[in-house]
């Protein structure tokens, strides 16, 4: 059989199967790290505004309110909403239910505080201007932009309706428009800024991933090159003398012994020639190493893969290679090893002329092992299931 090349299929899967997930993880982590930093910055901004800005104004005007206790309670409700929102956003992407629950609580508290402020003095004493908007920025930051826009609009409408209810004081209305303009502008700017930084972070992470993948490829190429050189040296010791003997006529192609030696060397040569720059993954390398040992014993081994193979964790790989060693040790003259991706994992199978059932290692590490014996040929399959 031809190749130890992984079956690459269409171009989009042409990337080595194992390299993809291995490098995708750091990228996600890296871009995730930046995102967390931006989230923390927004948390500080919002909490800082609520403590220093809104809190300061609340204390400064404490005698102007009809009920300072109520204003204080509303301020506390907002603080709790910010606290809850901060915890939630640190945990990852927010679903619409918790995000909107926090936002609506903040909007209600802010509108209630405005409604309880003395009419006509809102501009001077209302601490809740724009506060709800900041909570909205916090929890809706990474949801659709339209959601934040809706929320900011709704919060503004709430305050405006309070003003209308109070009889529309001209100064308050002017103040409202001014506060609305700068606070909403600032809120939208922060949300847009974080969004842009998110994009930049993921681009930086992607660039880093590409660089990392290139480095990994270079390192793998180095490993392959060393392995290939090693195998070439081994061929110098085994294949070259055989060819020389055949040429000189000292080895007789009719001799069964010589034919076995030829078969083994042919299998080795094929493997050497078939080994491309694509990385079939550590499992294939480990199986190749086992095959090399068997070949020195005179067993012709072929290894083939079908389909892009998922990466197999170390402990599961050990169970599979242990099975390979047991079977290859028992094989008399030939063995075929195949790797195929199956529904939720990988099926590594062995067909070899062992003559009898082989003692295989105990299954474990999500690897199931089965074998069947037919006319001196052993079939065994180690199936790793990722689920």
């Amino acid at each position: 059989m031809t190749a130890v090349k992984p079956a690459t299929g269409p171009p989009r899967t042409a990337q080595p199967a194992t390299a993809q997930p291995a490098t995708a993880q750091p990228t996600a982590m890296m871009s995730g790290g930046y995102q967390r930093a931006f989230t923390i910055a927004v948390v500080f901004l919002v909490a800082g505004w609520h403590l220093a800005g809104a809190g300061g104004q609340l204390l400064h005007n404490r005698h102007a309110y009809a009920s300072f206790a109520f204003q204080g309670a509303m301020w506390l409700v907002m603080a709790l909403a910010i606290g809850a929102g901060s915890v939630l956003v640190q945990r990852g992407a927010l679903g619409w239910r918790p995000a909107w629950a926090v936002a609506v609580i903040a909007a209600v508290a802010s509108t209630a505080a405005a409604a309880a402020s003395p009419a006509g003095q809102m501009l001077a004493v209302n601490w809740a201007w724009g506060s709800a908007g900041w909570v909205g920025v916090l929890v809706l930051l990474r949801r659709r932009f339209s959601e934040l826009a809706c929320f900011l609009g709704a919060a503004a409408l709430g305050i405006l309706s309070v003003q209308l209810w109070d009889g529309l004081h001209r100064t308050d209305l002017a103040g409202f428009l001014a506060v609305f303009a700068w606070s909403t502008g600032a809120q939208v700017a922060v949300a847009a800024g974080v969004r842009a930084l998110d994009v930049a972070a993921s681009q930086a992470a992607a660039a880093a991933r590409r660089e990392e993948a290139a480095r990994e490829r270079a390192a793998t190429a180095q490993i392959i090159s060393v392995a290939r050189h090693g195998r070439w040296l081994a061929l110098q010791e085994s294949a070259v003398p055989l060819v020389a003997e055949l040429a000189a006529g000292t080895a007789d192609p009719g001799d069964a012994q010589v034919r076995v030696r030829c078969a083994v060397q042919a299998a080795r040569l094929r493997r050497l020639l078939a080994e491309g720059d694509e990385v079939p993954g550590p499992l294939v390398h480990e199986l190749q190493a086992s095959a090399d040992v068997a070949e020195r014993r005179g067993v012709a081994v072929e290894i083939e893969t079908a389909g892009p193979l998922p990466p197999v964790p170390g402990p599961a790989r050990r169970v599979i290679t242990d099975a390979a060693i047991a079977i290859l040790t028992a094989a008399r003259s030939k063995a075929r090893i195949t790797l195929a991706s199956v529904a939720a994992g990988i099926a590594v199978s062995f067909v070899a002329d062992t003559g009898a059932v082989v003692m295989l290692p105990a299954p474990g590490e999500d690897v199931a092992i089965e074998q069947q014996q037919d006319d001196g040929m052993l079939w065994a399959e180690a199936r790793w299931n990722s689920r």
Partner: protein
Amino acid sequence: MEQQVTVAIIEDHPVVTEGVASWIRSDPGQRVRLVQTARDLAGLRDSARLCDVVILDLELSGELVTAQIPELVAAGYRVVAFSGHGDPAIVMETLDNGAHAFVSKEEGRDHLVEAVLAAATDRPYVTRSQARAMLADQRPARPALSEQELQALLLWFQGMSKASVGRRMSVSENTVRQYISRARAKYAATGRTAPSKDALLARAIEDGVIKPGEILPYRSFARSVADGPSLGTPGQ
């Protein structure tokens, strides 16, 4: 077979041509007769149909000739690709272009003559390298194969004899052949159209390998859809 199947070998390495010719000569039933050997496709292009089946090396003078297969098929030849290029993508392209079977150079001794005979009668012939390519196929337009078809292909690719595959799956060897042939026929029903693929499909229907209803609805469906219970029960 009452009449010998005639064959041409298109291969640019004389030593390989010699080897293939010797396999044909050593067939006990002498079922195949070699009528032509050539190093390129020019001879086939210029004359009327010379033979039933063309054994085609996919790489002639350093160039892949998979794109020339439709032309050969349109001229009435059945094509058996014989190549060292076992890469599944190339195997799939070869089959999609209308070749009857793919035989890798390592499989030649055991499979080439049988593949030629199958091609001459428009019957499916699936080598292990071809099963590998079918298992590796990730194209969105791939045909939907049933669980049993996939299992039979996998065990056959792994290196079991068809009799062993049957024992493993608790079905007869004949049923195993049927599963594999049906998978192959489904491939003939997808992709570009070619007279050889139509012929293979028609023969598969005639032989009861596949029912017409099993092909058409799945032509463009994803694999998961066809794994459902609606897929026809296997014959036998």
